[in-house]
Amino acid sequence: MTTAVIASPSELAIKTDGLTKRFGRQTVVDDLALSVPRGSVFGFLGPNGSGKTTTIRMLLGLAQASAGDISVLGERMPQRLGGVLPRVGALIEGPGFYPFLSGSANLHRLDSADGFAPRGTRSERVAHALDRVGLSHAADKKVRAYSLGMKQRLGIANALLAPRDLIVLDEPTNGLDPQGTREVRSLIRSLADEGTTVFVSSHLLAEIEQMCTHAAVMRAGRLVAQGTLDELRSAGATRVSITTPDVEAATRVLLALGLDPGLPDATGPVAASVAGAASAGQPGTILSAALPEAVAPEDIVAKLVADGVRVRGFSVDHASLEDLFVALTGEGFDVVQ
């Protein structure tokens, strides 16, 4: 799998090397080599239980690595924890607040724990953070009375209390309504626009695809892919699909060009679902085949038309990341919708 081209270590917001965590005999994170470029929105993708939260705990010095090195914002962790963490905002495995305090009192409390946060601007910063996540109206409500989504927003607000160089968000859209999910997405984009590196973990592919510039894919504690989204996409095959009633003629043309339309069951889950849709549809049958680099799509259309195939539809699809991730992570992947 392709790895992002790295200019120098100082350009990396997070870098791990051989990072390993064992709980007893179970290896939960195995030899992880993450490279998160500064200024990126980095998606950390993997099914439940693949070790994302455990990795984040190690990055932030909450858990001790069994082996390996970590550097965050150019400094070694956890040795330089005191200097690094004030520049890092984090939401880790769900929010945690004192139920008997109001949302704003909770933020005041957590801000006072940061020895570098100036006291004079605390109230202003708390109000600003609450405003950014749309919680201003509930600032003085006890957290006990917050809904799950409101708590999640408050957790994100906590990560935004001070100017940060890196923001780590572990499954930030958990428990949020679609509206909230959209808001978080645009919030992350605006953070990225300010130059903050955002490291966001998720088990939802769509989320990562919509807001990230980079991604890494975890499977059972191992890193199976890492790079920019484009790099990841290009790693997957491009496919052409033809909708036609003349299946036999079309198949012959495709085979002659070196494409293998195959049978619905042979082309993987995506093709299978498309084929299923085709059998119910009226205009014709969809034929789908991987597009070799040597063949230009226009040549296929020209040849089909020349051979009298009635082409009712033609499309070239870059493999969706979904295809890729299903291939990478196997069974049990929690695909969105």
Binding site: G82, A113, F116, E124, G195
Partner: protein
């Protein structure tokens, strides 16, 4: 690769300023006290403690027909002088009620944060694990002081309300002025506070062992009872001077003329030893612990 050149300027420049040196942590200590004393539970415990001398005073007042002849003699002297109610309340509360409340506060200190999942956010703030331990311990100590003062003051006030007040007879048979006796009441509250410092350190340590605050609280309270039972068994006499509860009731030495300070000193030294040992244990455990709650 670097896209930081695309960063927009922050909204308000004042908000982006950062201290260039870390603060000592007084702000966090103040916040810890605020959290402690904003909890309804804390107030419930203080009220319960205040109820101890009030109940004693009311009970004695209602049944003031002669002394029962049991229990510490100065429970009887309440009827002669209301200023004794505070001391009587402390005497009753020291074996169980005070350790109970101190066990709740100190046992909750770390485990409670782990339970509400706030612990990981404090640590990534970052508060620093040692600083968190120190602040938690100091807050527990402040609670000890608040608890004993609440008891004493509630006792003195109810005593003034229900019984005659006048110069106080000490254990030595000497009589001291009201002012002197109030000073001694304060000293006794301080003595009781110091007595509870060792237990607080034990509670803090136990609290680092678990994510279940109730377990840590219960274990702390049970230990305080075990210590007192051991202290009363003659078979474990060699152990007695090492038990943190050994000097708990020796505050009576402050009611002698002249004041016998040695028990205050021995008690303080013993408690200091416990703070030292269990503080180090708590540090060892907490600083090497994975926060997985």
């Amino acid at each position: 690769m670097s896209s930081s050149d695309s960063g927009a300027t922050p909204v308000r420049s004042g908000l982006t300023e950062r201290r260039n040196r870390r603060s000592v942590g007084l702000g966090f200590f103040a916040s810890e006290l605020a959290v402690l004393f904003r909890r309804r539970r804390t107030w419930a415990m203080l009220l319960a403690l205040a109820a101890v001398p009030i109940l004693i005073a009311v009970a004695v007042r209602i049944s003031s027909s002669g002394s029962s002849g049991r229990g510490p003699a100065f429970i009887d002297s309440i009827t002669q002088n209301g200023l004794f109610v505070g001391v009587a309340g402390l005497t009753i509360a020291i074996p169980l009620f005070l350790p109970l409340t101190v066990g709740v506060v100190s046992g909750d200190s770390i485990a409670g944060e782990a339970n509400t999942a706030t612990l990981r956010y404090l640590l990534v703030s970052p508060v620093g694990r040692i600083r968190l331990l120190v602040v938690k311990y100091l807050a527990a100590a402040v609670f000890c002081l608040a608890a004993t003062l609440t008891l004493s003051i509630a006792g003195i006030l109810i005593g003034i309300a229900l019984f005659p007040v006048g110069p106080v007879t000490l254990l030595s048979g000497d009589t001291v002025s009201i002012g002197d006796s109030l000073v001694r009441s304060l000293l006794i509250a301080l003595y009781a506070t110091v007595s509870l410092l060792g237990l607080s350190a034990i509670g803090l340590f136990i609290s680092t062992l678990t994510d279940a605050p109730v377990g840590a609280m219960a274990a702390t309270v049970v230990l305080s009872i075990v210590a007192q039972v051991l202290d009363s068994l003659s078979q474990t006499e060699w152990l007695h001077p090492w038990l943190f509860s050994h000097y708990w009731l020796n505050f009576a030495d402050l009611l002698r003329q002249p004041i016998e300070w040695s028990s205050f000193g021995q008690n303080a030294l013993l408690q200091l030893g416990y703070v030292f040992v269990f503080g180090a244990l708590a540090y060892g455990r907490f600083s090497s612990k994975d926060i997985l709650s």
